[in-house]
């Protein structure tokens, strides 16, 4: 971003969120500071900032936030699973102990935050069970975890099935922990995961405790058919 950076009409039209017609009209009417040189209209960034401040207009120069927001929800389920990893033989006989064992084994959670995360997971379970049926539960905190670098889902196979107050009353043997740094990811992943879990073939595949590679392969195929 040099001091003498210039913008074109189309750059400025995206910055201001108006059409190029509006920009050329403003130039014609003498409302915008324009560089007098060249074949096309160019605007000096410095002048524009001055102008925007004078008129109290927001100038979204070099701001790509809106672009990011769009891409945010675009994380693939397989990617999240890969981020999270797979943990087998989780010990425990009831919900709190299972959750504690899970949280303790997740590598990506810094040790300082583990107890906090556990509280939140337990709180969520107390409010309403996350057991979705077919022996699967999706424990997750209700607040986004800002310390996480990226969204993740960990797959946890329990050593012993546990009574999870699930919707269909069946004991749960697989936990998918959904851990996200922001709410958009959360909703997106939750919806993608629950879509996959509607597939009975996928569930029986899960029950066989597949390897990480196999699971990823399967989800890559399955997530292609996810609407959205």
């Amino acid at each position: 971003m040099g001091k003498h950076m210039t913008l074109s009409v189309s750059d400025l039209s995206t910055c201001l969120g108006v059409s190029t017609d509006t920009i050329t009209r403003w130039v014609r009417q003498g409302k915008l500071p324009v560089l007098p040189k060249g074949n096309d209209l160019r605007f000096l960034k410095k002048d524009l900032e001055k102008w925007a401040a004078l008129h109290n207009i927001r100038l979204n120069l070099s701001d790509k936030k809106s672009g990011e927001k769009q891409n945010q929800a675009d994380i693939r389920l397989s990617q999240a699973l890969q981020n999270g990893g797979m943990y087998c033989d989780i010990a425990g006989n009831d919900i709190p102990t299972v959750l504690e064992a899970c949280v303790n084994r997740i590598l990506q959670i810094p040790d300082d935050f583990k107890s906090d995360l556990l509280d939140r997971l337990a709180e969520r379970e107390n409010a309403l069970s996350t057991g979705v049926g077919n022996g699967i539960a999706l424990p997750h905190p209700r607040q986004p975890l800002s310390y996480l670098p990226h969204p993740m889902i960990t797959v946890n196979f329990l050593a012993n099935p546990v009574d999870y107050n699930a919707l269909d009353g069946r004991p749960v043997s697989i936990l998918f922990c959904i851990l996200c740094p922001s709410l958009q990811y959360h909703l997106h992943l939750l919806s993608a995961l629950s879509f996959c879990l509607r597939d009975t073939d996928f569930i029986s595949f899960l029950k066989s405790q597949p390897e990480m590679d196999q699971l990823l392969e399967k989800t890559v195929i399955l997530q292609e058919s996810i609407p959205l």
């Binding site: 201001l16 108006v18 017609d21 509006t22 009209r25 096309d40 209209l41 008129h55 207009i57």
Partner: protein
């Protein structure tokens, strides 16, 4: 835009690098001087021709003189200059508010010639409006020549106007105030300085070239507090007269248009009538500066009744001159009618009270003038400053303000639109900066339209459409013909919600069965005002834009608000 490139290539001096204010001041001086020259030229030419025609005024056929002048003037204006516009000031205001002050080059001289013919031959009209038109056209064309932008051009139009008024009256302040109050309608920093300087330049030109200034040779008056009460009465009277004047002007114009005469016949009739009136009341002929002069200095001699009749004679003469083909303004007639009114009122006061302690006849003539100008043009400041500059002192300022305020309020109460603005308001073209109408007229449909819409075919089955909805964030789907791409109707998600939730009909209906065909559409040619009106009266949030049966895009209220606010900021911010 290659406009800018041209600007740099055309001028080695490179004006674009000059500071904006300095550029406007320099070009403003040029505009002021040029328009001052135009004003002076018209003044001198009028004086010359009046003198030259003076010996012929005593013959019985003198009434034909104004007729000949009017015929020549109208033929010149329509056939040679092909100007095709009214008396000038509304056109200038229209150009300023709608087209960034663009005026034709021919306007810078055509009015001078036609009004010279009209007024010189004795038609009852003022040279100010023509001079204002030429002055503003000169300013506009200087800006055009230098490829300046709209804002700068408008300021130069103001400079030209101010120079012209300042030049013709030798009254720089009146020029400044008139230009800003009537023509531009916007007081702001970047306007005032160049216009003030242009006004002074115009006045200087006038002083240098006209040695014997008629009107404005600073006469002292003694107006005391005792004059306030009669002043108020005069103001009410002047207000009534000005309303009557405005109404007469308008009706005469309409009346004349009813006859399907050729142009010159109309001018001939009108001119002869004016000439006929002039035989009995020479005071109505021409612009009447000399009569005003004599009234102010108190050397005017007419009886009470004659003065009263003269007021109306002048009103009719002016209305007929302007309405039946002559060319000119109403500024000078206003001054004359005003001073006649003032003198008439003064005479009444002297008739009713013996030896009242009020000021001279001349002072009342001045008050009457202010009253008429404020009333007819609804420009109180112009009236006050013009008369202040006549007297050259502040002795009369208190009654002046009182008269001006009352008269303009009164005429505003009876006739909310002033003579200059009436036509514009009627056409919806009275667009002062920062007003709603102006913003709406500046914003273009093509700027507001959002075009990124997925179109769907009318033969699409509903199930397919459901799949499209899933991945789309549109609320509206235009339905088009498969082959010709012609617009058929709209589908609004809001309206089909219950069908969307009913999978049973997914395979049963085609889109042309559920689309909305009677939804109102706009076209690119519509004004935003029309579109908004349509949205409001039908309670719509968005309107599809369809042109030549092709769907172009949608206009939504949220988008309008967004741009409306920016436009408002741009137009009202202090620069």
């Amino acid at each position: 835009m290659s406009v800018i490139k041209k600007m740099t290539s055309r001028f080695p001096l490179n004006l674009s690098h000059l500071d904006d204010r300095l550029l406007l001041i320099i070009t403003g001086i040029i505009a002021g001087m040029c328009s001052g020259l135009a004003a002076v030229a018209l003044r001198l030419a009028l004086e010359l021709v009046t003198e030259w025609l003076h010996p012929f005024r005593h013959f019985w056929w003198a009434f034909l003189l104004p007729a000949i002048g009017a015929v020549l003037s109208s033929i010149y204006l329509e056939k040679i200059a092909r100007e095709g516009a009214g008396h000038g000031v509304p056109e200038v205001i229209y150009a300023v508010s709608k087209h960034g002050g663009l005026l034709r080059l021919r306007s810078s001289y055509s009015r001078l010639i036609s009004s010279f013919l009209t007024i010189g031959s004795g038609g009852s009209a003022g040279p100010e409006a023509p001079v204002v038109m030429s002055g503003s056209a000169i300013g506009s064309n200087i800006a055009k020549f230098l490829w300046l932008n709209d804002r700068q051009r408008t300021t130069l139009v103001g400079c030209g106007t101010a120079g012209a008024i300042a030049g013709i009256f030798n009254a720089p302040l009146a020029g400044l105030v008139f230009s800003i109050e009537v023509i531009l309608g916007k007081w702001n920093f970047s306007n005032i300085i160049p216009i003030a300087i242009a006004a002074v330049a115009g006045a200087e030109v006038s002083q240098a070239l006209i040695h014997k200034q008629v009107l404005f040779n600073h006469m002292p008056f003694n107006v005391g507090t005792a004059d306030i009460l009669p002043g108020i009465c005069l103001a009410v009277f002047a207000g009534l007269i000005s309303v009557f004047f405005t109404k007469t002007l308008n009706t005469t114009g309409k009346f004349a248009k009813k006859f399907r005469f050729p142009l010159w016949v109309r001018a001939l009739i009108g001119g002869s009538v004016v000439g006929g009136i002039g035989l009995f009341f020479p005071v109505v002929l021409g612009e009447g500066y000399h009569f005003i002069q004599s009234m102010i200095s108190g050397t005017f001699s007419m009886g009470l009744f004659i003065t009263f009749v003269a007021v109306f004679a002048k009103i009719f003469a002016t209305a007929i001159t302007l309405g039946w083909g002559g060319s000119g303004g109403i500024f000078a007639p206003c001054l004359l009618i005003g001073s006649l009114t003032g003198i008439f009122f003064h005479k009444i006061v002297f008739l009713l009270f013996e030896n009242p302690a009020c000021a001279s006849e001349g002072a009342y003539a001045l008050l009457g003038m202010t009253g008429l100008i404020s009333g007819v043009m609804q420009a109180p400041l112009t009236g006050i400053f013009l008369v202040l500059e006549i007297t050259g002192g502040y002795e009369t300022i208190l009654p002046l303000i009182v008269v001006s305020a009352i008269s303009s309020t009164m005429s505003h109460y009876i006739e909310p639109a002033s003579f200059y603005f009436k036509e514009l308001i009627k056409q919806g073209q009275f667009l002062r900066p920062g007003t709603d109408a102006r913003i709406l007229s500046d914003l273009n449909i093509s700027e507001l339209i959002s075009t990124e819409f997925t179109k769907v075919s009318e033969n699409m089955i509903f199930r397919e459409f459901i799949e499209i909805i899933k991945t789309s964030d549109q609320f509206f789907f235009p339905v088009v013909d498969e082959n010709t791409d012609a617009y058929k109707g709209m589908i609004e998600i809001r309206n089909i919600r219950r069908y969307v939730l009913n999978p049973g009909i997914y395979d049963m209906v085609f889109l042309n069965q559920i689309m909305d065909t009677d939804i109102l559409t706009a076209s690119l040619e519509n004004d935003l005002q029309d579109v908004l009106e349509m949205m409001e009266s039908n309670n719509m949030e968005s309107v599809p834009v369809v042109e030549h049966e092709t769907f172009i895009g949608m206009i939504s209220k949220t988008r309008i608000l967004d741009l409306y606010r920016r436009e408002l900021i741009m137009q009202t911010s202090v620069r």
